[in-house]
């Protein structure tokens, strides 16, 4: 029987990586929960409300997208549309080439990871430098982020110190403060030399066209203080209806992501800088990216488009804690990734069809989600899809259910199996060539077979 890739990966995660991921996620999750319940009378009401608002947006994108486009244009921003990853990358390149720009500083944006923008630009001779400390380390290591909010949760300080030494950022020193200071010194000159600052957007208000970007390090702010052109890559699902809704979402986002009341920098952009302001972009471009989101919208898993990328579901997920982010082979790991990644793969769904299986369906993700996405239900729908589309990765390791369904729909056959199963108590079951039975018994004993005993008791006892 074929094995599940994520499970295989988990078996080889180094002990210190697993310990770091476990500690990092557990600590953040516990702080998050304490903070929300200490500070609000009914945090679950907030999650439910935020979910309803995002679901409304998702189901009314046909109204909100043209509305926000008009607002952005009125604010002086230029609006672009990209149906695919390739188009999104090409749009960024074109904006840069039109300005004769060759250097970009990037803030952390998951959609840029999704379209592999930095790689695309570098191949075309453009420097696209990550400025978020974690993302910068991922970039110099030619690695991939393993968490939505904590990209290098899988790395320890010694590995980082070695990377810095290799890149000429100073002699080996694994003190986190020294590492941070060195990045500060190196990157601030990069900001000042760059032509373009690229960000994502956490939210866009359809009412006013304001883009909201949150960071803790100040890298996005620095990008947009030092450069003359701002490009924002925005997934089409990032809208909220009204400015006032930001009051709800900002209250939930940082608490869910990092157990902060607010991130250090919450930026609202609605156009190029004021003429009286010496620093900042004279041009602002917003690129709305589809890249299979409309396919997700058409599916019965559209609730996943509510996601605000806080990472709370990763932090609470027992599978993510054991497997770590790279096990998901995707830009979006964890429970949300197990839903989103196969869907965003579009025609290549089968390549990611195993991910929806990588869950015990415990539902902890749904319980912490700030937009109340019913992740287990969506995982189940995708399991059904994987089965219907005969995706081999999805079925790996799952016992076939055909025979079981025949027995379980025939009471006579069921009873025969119950009483016949008694034989299990006398057989060396670990040698029975049923893969599921063997997989079970490799690590766990099997309880004694008591098939039919309850029924016998029920039948023979004196009714009260």
């Amino acid at each position: 029987m074929a094995k599940q890739l994520l499970d295989q990966f988990t078996a080889h995660v180094p002990a210190d990586t697993r310990a770091a991921v476990y500690l990092g996620t557990k600590t953040t999750h516990e702080k998050r929960t304490k903070m929300l319940f200490d500070q609000f009378a009914d945090p679950n009401r907030l999650r439910q409300l935020a979910g309803e608002i995002k679901q409304h947006v998702v189901e009314n994108l046909d109204t909100y997208l043209p509305q926000v486009e008009a607002k952005l244009k009125a604010n002086g921003a230029q609006v672009h549309w990209a149906a695919t990853a390739e188009e999104a990358c090409a749009a960024v390149l074109k904006i840069m080439q039109d300005r004769g720009a060759t250097k970009m500083v990037k803030a952390k944006t998951m959609v840029s990871e999704e379209i592999e923008l930095a790689h695309y630009l570098e191949k075309r001779g453009i420097e696209a430098l990550e400025t978020d400390l974690g993302e910068f380390i991922v970039q110099i290591d030619k690695d991939h982020p393993s968490h939505l909010v904590r990209p290098i949760i899988h790395k320890n300080r010694r590995e980082i110190a070695q990377s810095f030494e290799r890149e000429g950022l100073g002699a080996y020193n694994d003190d986190p403060e020294t590492i941070t200071r060195r990045a500060r010194q190196f990157l601030r000159h990069k900001y000042l030399a760059a032509d373009v600052g690229l960000t994502g957007a956490n939210f866009v208000s359809a009412e006013s066209g304001r883009l909201v970007v949150v960071t803790n390090e100040g890298n996005s702010r620095f990008s947009l203080a030092a450069t003359k052109c701002h490009i924002a890559l925005v997934g089409i699902e990032k809208l909220v209806p009204r400015d006032r809704d930001l009051g709800l979402f900002l209250n939930l986002l940082a608490r869910s992501a990092t157990a902060q009341q607010l991130t250090v920098y919450t930026e609202f952009f609605s156009g190029p800088k004021l003429p009286s302001q010496p620093d900042g972009p004279e041009e602002m471009h917003v690129i709305f990216v589809d890249n299979n989101r409309t396919e997700v919208l058409a599916s019965d898993c559209r609730e996943i488009l509510r996601c605000i990328r806080c990472g709370a579901c990763l932090n609470v997920c027992p599978v993510y804690r054991q497997a770590s982010g790279h096990a998901y082979r995707s830009v979006y790991p964890g429970p949300v990734g197990a839903v989103l990644s196969p869907l965003l793969a579009g025609a290549h769904f089968a390549d990611k069809a195993d991910l929806p299986k990588a869950s015990s369906l415990c539902g902890a993700c749904n319980e912490v989600c700030p937009v109340n996405i019913p992740i287990p239900d969506l995982l189940l729908r995708l399991r059904d899809k994987g089965k219907r589309e005969y995706a081999p990765l999805a079925s790996a390791g799952t016992p076939p259910m055909g025979g079981w369904s025949v027995i379980a729909t025939s009471p006579a056959a069921w009873k025969t199996a119950l009483f016949g199963g008694k034989i299990m108590d006398y057989l060396p079951t670990k040698f029975i060539p049923v893969p599921a039975l063997q997989a079970w018994q490799a690590k766990r004993t099997l309880p004694k077979w008591r098939g039919g005993e309850f029924r016998k008791w029920m039948k023979n006892r004196r009714k009260p």
Binding site: Q4, L6, D7, Q8, T10, A11, D300, V316, P318, V319, Q322, A323, P356, K357, A358, S359, S360, L361, C362, G363, A364, N366, E367, L380, R383, G386, K387, A394, S395, A396, G397, T398, P399, P400, M401, G402, W404, S405, I407, A408, T409, P411, L418, P435, A436, A439, W440, A442, K443, R444, T445, P447, K448, R450, G451, F454, R455, W457, M458, P464
Partner: protein
Amino acid sequence: MDLSHRKLPGTDKRVQLMATCLCDAFYADAARATVEVLEYIGCRLEFPEGQTCCGQPAFNGGDWAASRKVVRHTVRTFAGELPVIIPSASCAAMVFHGALLAFEKEPDLPEVRQLANRTWELADFIVNALGVRTWPGRYDAKVAFHRSCHSRGTETGPAALTLLSSIAGTTVVPVGEAEQCCGFGGTFSVAFPNVSTSMGALKLEHVRAVQPDLLVSIDMSCMMHLGGLAAKEGKPIRTQHLAQVLRDSLKNGGLL
């Protein structure tokens, strides 16, 4: 999950029992205890002989076509208007939630919903349908309670704790990271053996840290996994279904 609309029993307290396939095959005493406990509080039980399984294994495994066959069998077997009581949060959630998902696009969704709307997990039923909040008898033990994951969003967890902590002699000790899954997850436990057993090992660590006399749950599936892991390690733990504790409390108090 909004379960507020669920059907209450009539004054004759007639109910149907879905014993679950796991009790049918392995945990006969948990099913027996369920009967004894329900009868003690005045319920009149019907046990539809044709019952097999709720259909969850195939549903979670992704084979919804196979699952729907079994759900349809279950719907036919539990025909009528009586509340259906299940000594498993997981099987109960399959009947009142999972089955509805699997039948979203099926013409017989109303029949499935009719069963869903009268299905109860045992502890939830005792506390919230019958209003029993203190349990008589005596049971001297330090108990760790494992809230099974399929009880999230339902009243089952609080109900089970209400009953357990009301028993004379019983102390419920809080277990670390109680919201974390034990790693069973049905077919997940065999398709993802490494992740599943790592999760189980962590859960056992938390349980052992508080040194309980026994581990109690409302789902024997979690107990089969955790108990099986512990036994394989050569450090077995005692596991019981909530119904067994309730029944033994009655026995110890001379009430049964």
